[in-house]
Symmetry: C2
Subunit: 321 residues, 2 copies
């Protein structure tokens, strides 16, 4: 399955998801329309709404509601990115200027808040209290994770903290994307739980692969400026796995103890990690999550959409190729 | 009716509203609990949940849901204040340090986002899609109004812009507080519309009175540091009414044309406005809104809660005495 082939069954609906997102600026300040248009144009692979559209199709959710839900999920994701980029001082994302690169911080905060409110509006439009509740809880989980990071930077010394952080940051949103359609049709608990697991596992794999890419790629590949997580004091899986097998490396000890590394030390540590088994071992963990995702839905009836969801699981690590 | 007497019928429920708000930090980072506790302890008159509790009682909404809804409304209000204070650089509110006075801007943004998410969660708990939809739209309206301010400071030259701004800033939330209970019980359209009008008119009166207070009071009275709106380039009703009758005053012209006034000029203009009819005329407009609020519910059956809502309308301008 070639890249993004998994999205074929619902590919035609993605422009409608984007149109639904775009229409959320109707009736509001022109600056908000401009910002929203730019954010949508900046793109992204729309993996989250693709998951939503696929599971919706699998469960027989009517197309209009599936599109609305997909737009709600992607808009929530977009809103969190707007505040994230402001907090991180990131000036570009996927090669495009961020909102905070163009607006002052006050306007950027408000732009993010606006997207939150319109995402919540779309979630309400879906017409399910359960969806709404999960939607709100997902945002709480994401923000709670970021608060942890804001207050504990350089004190995440345990790999378990890492797993918790990437759950909050990424997997929780994939859980929402995959499971929400089950609420809409009132699916059996078994189906609902399987989709939750699928979302969780895909999300964990996705973030681990992202964190591996941070060690291996350049700006062109990942569409972000190359500032390694380490430069931001952020310890990710490859570091933890490297530390486990290289306890005597003073650089990794320093990093894990939360001391600030010099730029040279960071580059040295990155080189050491790249030359170690830590990258392969991290990938192995990502693959396990993917395998769990595939297993979670293996008993679903054979349908194009199921094949696509299985393909999407493969795609996550294919990004490394 | 003495101050706050209007809240008597539901006074006993306010601590339960606060407890419901407080419990939203359960299971999240300890810093969020501390921030939320401080925000709740800092108090406020809880006028918005009081409106919600009163209209809920009037319509026979069960108490648990009324409390949840009141907490959702007050938490949404609190969340907007957290971001507002950050944007305005306000270090105290009602004599207490703001979140941004204690946390850096990143953590403050996230704290506000967290409160948004938990407010949305509580709104979902109420179990009405209509409530949820109005809730999201209210936040959109508020944020859209602030975006207008962020992009058009010093270019609000029309009194109509002022009315639009205070609708977005204050009246929209009172509309939510007053009307949401009608959705819960599926009240007749006439009742629902009357409560919407009540909320709108109370909210408009409330903000006009606040803006009058900005011209007349010192820090002790309003519990905010005395930095007149004018110092922040914000034109409010007294200025517009003063300008209408004093077209030749070069200071007010300068202010309306968006030029920056010196501190001396600001103090002079404030003195001029205070000595003019503009304050009394502004109060007259506030009183009209109050009267409209009272009229909106005049045909409701005689009940303690109706009396309380009428008393609340009186209270708004009694704050000036």
């Amino acid at each position: 399955m070639t890249t993004l082939e998994f999205s074929l069954p619902v590919q035609a609906l993605i422009p409608r998801v984007e149109e639904c997102m775009r229409s959320q600026a109707n009736g509001y300040r022109p600056e908000l329309r401009i910002a929203l248009d730019q954010l949508i144009k900046a793109g992204g692979k729309r993996i989250r709404p693709t998951v939503t559209l696929l599971t919706s199709a699998l469960l027989g959710v009517d197309q209009e509601r599936a599109i609305t839900l997909g737009a709600a999920v992607e808009l929530l994701h977009t809103a969190t990115l707007v505040h994230d980029d402001l907090i991180d001082g990131a000036l570009t994302r996927r090669g495009n200027p961020t909102v905070n690169a163009q607006w002052d911080s006050s306007a950027t905060i408000l732009a993010g808040d606006f997207l939150f409110s319109q995402a919540a509006y779309l979630a309400a439009e879906v017409g399910s209290i359960d969806v709404m509740r999960m939607f709100a809880k997902t945002l709480s989980t994401i923000v709670n994770g970021e608060i942890s990071q804001a207050f504990s930077l350089n004190t995440f010394t345990q790999v378990d903290d890492y797993y918790e952080r990437i759950y909050a940051k990424t997997a929780s949103m994939f859980e929402l994307a995959a499971r929400a359609p089950a609420y809409i049709v009132g699916a059996e608990e078994e189906i609902s739980a399987a989709l939750l697991t699928y979302g969780y596992e895909i999300g964990m794999a996705f973030q681990i692969v992202d964190d591996i890419l941070d060690f291996s790629s350049d700006s062109a590949t990942i569409g972000k400026p190359v500032t390694n997580d380490l430069s931001n004091g952020l310890l990710t899986l490859p570091i933890f796995l490297y530390a486990k097998e290289n306890e005597s490396d003073s650089l990794v000890l320093k990093a894990i103890e939360g001391e600030q590394l010099s730029e040279d030390e960071i580059q040295n540590l990155i080189a050491n990690v790249r030359n170690s088994n830590a990258i392969a071992e991290s990938l192995e963990q990502a693959n396990e999550h993917q395998e769990n995702a595939r297993k979670a839905i293996k008993d679903f009836p054979e349908q194009t959409e199921k094949e696509a969801l299985l393909g999407l699981a493969d795609y996550v690590s294919a990004r490394l190729l």
